[in-house]
C-alpha cells in the first residue's frame, strides 16, 4: 500500500461521517520480514503483511472508538457505525474534540530506504546466518546465543478527519540483534548486541557481535556486592530506559489527571543544571523520527527541561484545550486500535562534553550499570519510587573492577534528576522513543548481600 492509497482510504472513511459529528480515520499498513538463525541453521522466516483501520467519533462531547483488521467494505462500515454507537456511552466533556490544524506545517522527512524493497530474501537469511556463525566464533568463552535475528519493515500510515486534517507518512526500518551467552564453566552470562537502520546496508554484523560478546564476557564471574550508597553510572542503553520512564511523567495527560509529581513545578529547578531534556521528533538519525503526530499535527522540537529548569509538558489536542495552551504535536497512538495519548518521539538529554572513560575517572568509585530488570514492576511514575534489578561492573579508582549481578539500585526519579553529576557525549539512538548517553547519578542505594 502506498501513502497515497492509505490516504485515499482514510479520506473515504471520513466521507461516511454524519452531520453534527467529528470523525477521524487512521490507516496503517506494514510489510515485515523476520529471520532467526541458530546453530548454523535457519530457524524461522516470517513474512507478514498487516493492515488496520481505526475510527474515532466525537459527538456532543462524547468519544467512541472502533477498529478493523480487514479491508472489506462491510467491515469498514461496521467500524464506523460501532465507533458512533460507542460514543453514546461516554461522559460529555467540553474539551473533547479532534485536533484542529495549526500554523505549523508537517515536514516530509526522508524516512525511507527505497532499496530495501528489492533486497532478496536469501540475502536476509544469509546475514542472520553470518551473525549466528560470527557470535560463536568470536570468543572461546561464548557458548551460544538465544537467536541471531534479522528484521525489516516497510510501514505506511495515514490520517484524515472532518476537521481538515490530512497527512500520510512512510518509513522503512532494519534491525540486527542477538543475546550472546558466555560461560566460564560454572556461571552463564548474557549480553545483547544490536544494529539498526533504515536500509539493509546500514546493518553491521561485526559491531553487533563485538557489542554482544563484550557485554556477556565482561559479566563473567559476577557476584553479589555488599549493600551501600554509591554513584551509579548508567550506560547509554540503561540511560535510554530511564529517560523513557521520565517521558511518562512529563506528559500533560498525567499532569491533568493529578498523576505527575512535576505537576506544579514549571519554571522551577527540578534537575541538575547539567541536564537539558528535549524531544526532537524531526531528528532523522533516530529510528523513531516522524513528521506527523498521532492526530495529524506537525511534530516539532520541544525542550522539556532546560539546564535543570522545567520548561513545560508534552501536549496533544485534548490536554492543550483542557489546560488552555497549544498542542506540542506530541499525540501518540500505540496502534490503530487506540485513542491518541501523549508521548515523546525522540526523547534525549543534550550530550555533554565527556567520553565514558573520563566520566569513570571523574566518578572514581561507583557502579557502572549495563542492564536493568523489572522496570515495569519497580518504577512508579506517580510516586517516583524506583527500585530495579541491575547487572554491571564496580568502578574503583576510576577503573572498571569486578563485575556484579543480583543487586538492585534504588532512589526516587525526582532525586535522580537532581543528583546527575556527569553527562556523556556518547549519544546513541535505539529502536524506541528515547536515546541515551553515559549518565552518572550520585547517591543511589545499591542493595546486595
Amino acid at each position: 500500500m502506498t501513502p497515497a492509497e492509505a490516504q485515499a482510504l482514510a479520506d473515504g472513511i471520513v466521507e461516511r461521517s454524519l452531520p453534527g459529528e467529528q470523525l477521524e480515520a487512521v490507516v496503517s499498513w506494514a510489510r515485515n520480514t523476520e529471520v532467526r538463525a541458530h546453530g548454523g541453521e535457519l530457524e524461522h522466516l516470517v513474512s507478514a503483511e498487516e493492515f488496520g483501520v481505526g475510527v474515532r467519533v466525537i459527538r456532543d462531547g462524547k468519544q467512541g472508538l472502533s477498529w478493523a483488521g480487514v479491508l472489506d467494505s462491510a467491515e469498514l462500515a461496521r467500524c464506523v457505525s460501532e465507533a458512533r454507537d460507542n460514543s453514546a456511552f461516554g461522559t460529555p466533556d467540553p474539551n473533547a474534540g479532534l485536533a484542529q490544524s495549526d500554523s505549523v506545517v508537517p515536514q516530509q522527512l526522508d524516512l525511507v530506504d527505497r532499496a530495501l524493497a528489492d533486497v532478496p530474501t536469501i540475502d536476509k537469511v544469509e546475514i542472520a546466518l553470518r551473525l549466528d556463525r560470527a557470535i560463536t566464533a568470536a570468543d572461546k568463552r561464548v557458548v551460544g546465543h538465544e537467536g541471531a535475528d534479522y528484521g525489516d519493515g516497510i510501514g505506511v500510515s495515514a490520517i484524515s478527519s472532518t476537521e481538515g486534517i490530512r497527512a500520510a507518512e512512510e518509513e522503512t526500518s532494519t534491525f540486527l540483534g542477538t543475546y550472546a551467552l558466555a560461560s566460564d564453566g560454572s556461571d552463564t552470562t548474557t549480553g545483547f548486541g544490536m544494529s539498526v537502520g533504515r536500509g539493509f546496508g546500514d546493518l553491521n554484523v561485526d559491531s553487533t557481535v563485538e557489542e554482544a560478546v563484550e557485554r556477556a564476557v565482561l559479566l563473567l564471574g559476577a557476584r553479589k556486592a555488599p549493600s551501600r550508597r554509591t554513584t551509579v553510572i548508567l550506560d547509554p542503553y540503561v540511560c535510554s530506559q530511564f529517560l523513557g520512564i521520565l517521558g511518562d511523567m512529563l506528559s500533560a495527560e498525567e499532569v491533568l489527571r493529578g498523576r505527575s509529581p512535576f505537576a506544579d513545578r514549571v519554571g522551577e529547578e527540578v534537575a541538575s543544571p547539567l541536564l537539558t531534556l528535549t524531544d526532537d521528533p524531526l531528528c532523522v538519525e533516530a529510528p523513531t523520527a516522524s513528521g506527523v503526530d498521532g492526530e495529524g499535527l506537525a511534530c516539532r522540537p520541544l525542550t522539556l527541561i532546560s539546564a535543570g529548569v522545567l520548561e513545560g509538558f508534552m501536549h496533544n489536542a485534548y490536554t492543550a484545550r483542557a489546560m488552555g495552551t497549544r498542542s506540542t504535536g506530541s499525540a501518540s497512538r500505540a496502534s490503530h486500535r487506540s485513542a491518541p495519548g501523549v508521548a515523546p518521539k525522540v526523547l534525549g538529554v543534550r550530550a555533554g562534553a565527556f567520553n565514558p572513560s573520563e566520566i569513570l575517572a571523574e566518578v572514581g568509585d561507583g557502579l557502572l550499570v549495563h542492564e536493568l530488570a523489572g522496570l515495569h514492576s519497580g518504577v512508579n511514575p506517580v510516586s517516583g519510587d524506583m527500585s530495579v534489578g541491575a547487572e554491571g561492573v564496580i568502578v574503583r579508582g576510576g577503573e572498571l573492577a569486578e563485575p556484579v549481578r543480583e543487586i538492585t539500585i534504588a532512589s526516587t526519579l525526582q532525586r535522580m534528576l537532581t543528583d546527575v553529576v556527569a553527562v556523556g557525549k556518547d549519544l546513541r539512538f535505539f529502536p524506541w522513543e528515547s536515546s541515551g548517553v553515559t549518565l552518572a547519578i550520585a547517591d543511589m542505594t545499591m542493595s546486595g548481600s
Partner: protein
C-alpha cells in the same frame, strides 16, 4: 471459520513442494474495552481482528506467513510463501510422529458479554469509582477499566489434527492515587477470568475498588523499604508471579534447548526444597490462563513440573517436542494469528503445604511480609529474577508491622527454590497476568499459598 475443503487446499499447498509439516491457525477475535478516568467515561472502544497464520516446517526450519484475507486464493499464497520460507534452510527431515487427534469446543459461558448492553458495562465503572472515592478523602484519582474478548480459533495440520476452541474472557481493574503530605501513592486491584459477564455475579466491583483504594492509602504512611538480604514471607495468591519468574520461564523447553536456562540438564535432580510441588495447569476451568486446546490444537493438560523438590519435566510445544521425539505438553501458545507459537505457561501454581500461615509469620523474627506483588522479569540464563512488591510490611518479632513503600526484590531462581522453608495450607490464585516473551503477550494465571523464603534481596533505600 474455514470449511474442510479450504483447509485441505491450504495444507496441500503447504506440502506440495515437499515439507515435513504444515499447519493453519485461524482466529476471529472480537473485543471491547471501556475506561473511566478523571471522573469521566472517556473511551469505549471495540473492534474485530481475524485472519490466518500458516506455518510450514522443513527439517529444522520454519516458514511462517499470515493473512487477514481468508479467501482460498489468498490462503494458498500464504501457504506457498511459508513453504518457500521453510525451504530457505538446509536441515534434515524429521519423521512425522503424531497420529490424528482432535479436540473441540467448550461450553460457552452462562452470559456471553456480547449479549450484554454496553450501558451495563459502563455502569460498573461508575460503581467502582464511587466506591473508591468514598473509601477515603485522600483518594485523588480513580481509573477503572472493563474489558471482554471472545476469541474463536481453529487449528488444522498435516499430522491430522483438526481442533477448535471458543475462548471468552472478562476482566475488570481499578487503579487509585492517594495524595497526602508525603506525596502520591498508588493502589491497584484486578480480577480476570475465562468466563463471561457472570464474573460480576461472583465479584463485587465496589469491593475491588475499596481494596485498590486501601492499598494506596496504606502506602501514604509507608516507610522506605529496607535494603539487603532478608527473610521474606509471601502472602497467599499474590505471590505466584515469583514462581513464574524464578523457575517457570527456565522450564520452557525452547530456552532449555538453547542452553539459555539454569535448569538445562537437571530433570530428575533436586532443584528445590522438598516443600515445593509446582504445577502448570491449562485445564483449570475459568482461570485466566485456561483454554480447552493450546494454539497448536492439542488438548491442554495438567503438568507437574517439580514434585517434592525434584524436577519432573519441562514444558513443551509441538516443534520442540518433534525435534526431541516426544509429545508436546500442550504449552504451544501464541498472541494472535500473526505470531508463531512458542512454549508458554498457562496457570502456574505451588501446591499448598501443611503449615498454619499465622505460625509462619509468628516464627519469623524479622523480615518482610509481601501481601501483593506487581510484575516481574527473569534472565533464564543466569537465573536472576526480580518482582515488584506493591503491598508490603515489615515483620518484627513475629508480627506484621509498618507498611513499606514499593520496590523490587531480586533473587536467583535455583537458590530461592532451595531456600523455601515453610509452605502454608491456605492456597489461592492471584490476579490475572499477561506474560511477555519475545514480544508476544498471552494471558496467564498463577497462585501460591503463604510461603517463607530466605536469601531474597530487598531493593529499598533504607539501611
Amino acid at each position: 471459520m474455514l470449511d474442510h475443503s479450504t483447509i485441505s487446499a491450504v495444507l496441500t499447498a503447504g506440502m506440495e513442494e515437499g515439507a515435513d509439516f504444515t499447519e493453519i491457525f485461524v482466529e476471529d477475535r472480537q473485543s471491547i474495552s471501556a475506561m473511566l478516568d478523571d471522573g469521566r467515561v472517556e473511551e469505549l472502544a471495540s473492534g474485530r481482528d481475524r485472519g490466518a497464520g500458516i506455518r510450514v516446517v522443513s527439517g529444522e526450519t520454519t516458514g511462517f506467513a499470515h493473512t487477514a484475507d481468508l479467501s482460498v486464493e489468498s490462503l494458498r499464497v500464504a501457504a506457498r510463501t511459508a513453504a518457500a520460507g521453510a525451504r530457505g534452510g538446509t536441515g534434515k527431515a524429521l519423521p512425522i510422529s503424531a497420529s490424528p487427534r482432535s479436540a473441540a469446543g467448550r461450553t460457552l459461558p452462562t452470559i456471553l458479554p456480547e449479549n450484554v448492553d454496553k450501558g451495563e458495562k459502563v455502569a460498573l465503572l461508575k460503581a467502582a469509582e464511587d466506591a473508591a472515592r468514598s473509601e477515603n478523602q485522600a483518594i485523588s484519582q480513580v481509573t477503572a477499566r472493563y474489558a471482554d474478548s471472545r476469541r474463536r480459533i481453529q487449528v488444522a495440520n498435516s499430522d491430522g489434527i483438526h481442533s477448535a476452541d471458543d475462548q471468552v474472557r472478562t476482566m475488570f481493574s481499578v487503579s487509585t492515587v492517594a495524595s497526602g503530605d508525603t506525596g502520591m501513592q498508588t493502589g491497584r486491584e484486578s480480577v480476570g477470568r475465562t468466563v463471561g459477564f457472570e464474573l460480576f455475579s461472583e465479584t463485587d466491583v465496589a469491593e475491588l475498588a475499596r481494596t485498590a483504594a486501601q492499598r494506596a492509602i496504606t502506602k501514604l504512611a509507608a516507610r522506605p523499604a529496607p535494603s539487603g538480604e532478608m527473610t521474606v514471607v509471601i502472602g497467599p495468591g499474590g505471590g505466584g508471579v515469583m514462581f513464574h519468574e524464578a523457575c517457570g520461564h527456565g522450564l520452557e523447553a525452547d530456552l532449555v534447548a538453547k542452553g539459555a536456562s539454569v535448569f538445562a540438564g537437571r530433570v530428575g535432580e533436586k532443584v528445590a526444597s522438598e516443600l515445593v510441588t509446582l504445577v502448570d495447569d491449562g485445564t483449570m476451568d475459568g482461570e485466566w490462563g485456561h483454554t480447552t486446546i493450546d494454539d497448536e490444537g492439542l488438548a491442554v493438560r495438567r503438568n507437574v513440573l517439580i514434585s517434592d523438590g525434584v524436577l519432573m519435566d519441562y514444558m513443551w510445544d509441538g516443534l520442540r517436542a518433534r525435534s526431541e521425539g516426544r509429545n508436546s505438553s500442550g504449552n504451544g501458545r501464541r498472541q494472535s494469528y500473526r505470531h508463531l507459537p512458542m512454549v508458554r505457561m498457562t496457570n502456574t501454581y505451588l501446591l499448598a503445604g501443611e503449615s498454619d500461615p499465622a505460625d509462619i509469620v509468628a516464627d519469623t523474627e524479622s523480615g518482610v511480609y509481601v501481601a501483593h506483588l506487581g510484575g516481574g522479569q527473569v534472565n533464564t540464563a543466569t537465573g536472576d529474577f526480580v518482582f515488584g512488591m506493591t503491598e508490603a510490611y515489615l515483620i518484627e518479632e513475629g508480627r506484621i508491622t509498618a507498611p513499606l513503600r514499593e520496590g523490587n526484590l531480586i533473587g536467583n531462581g535455583p537458590a530461592v527454590l532451595a531456600n523455601i522453608d515453610a509452605v502454608g495450607d491456605d492456597f489461592s490464585m492471584g490476579a490475572p497476568g499477561t506474560c511477555g516473551k519475545d514480544g508476544q503477550g498471552v494471558p496467564v494465571g498463577d497462585g501460591v499459598p503463604t510461603l517463607r523464603v530466605h536469601g531474597l534481596t530487598i531493593g529499598g533505600t533504607a539501611a
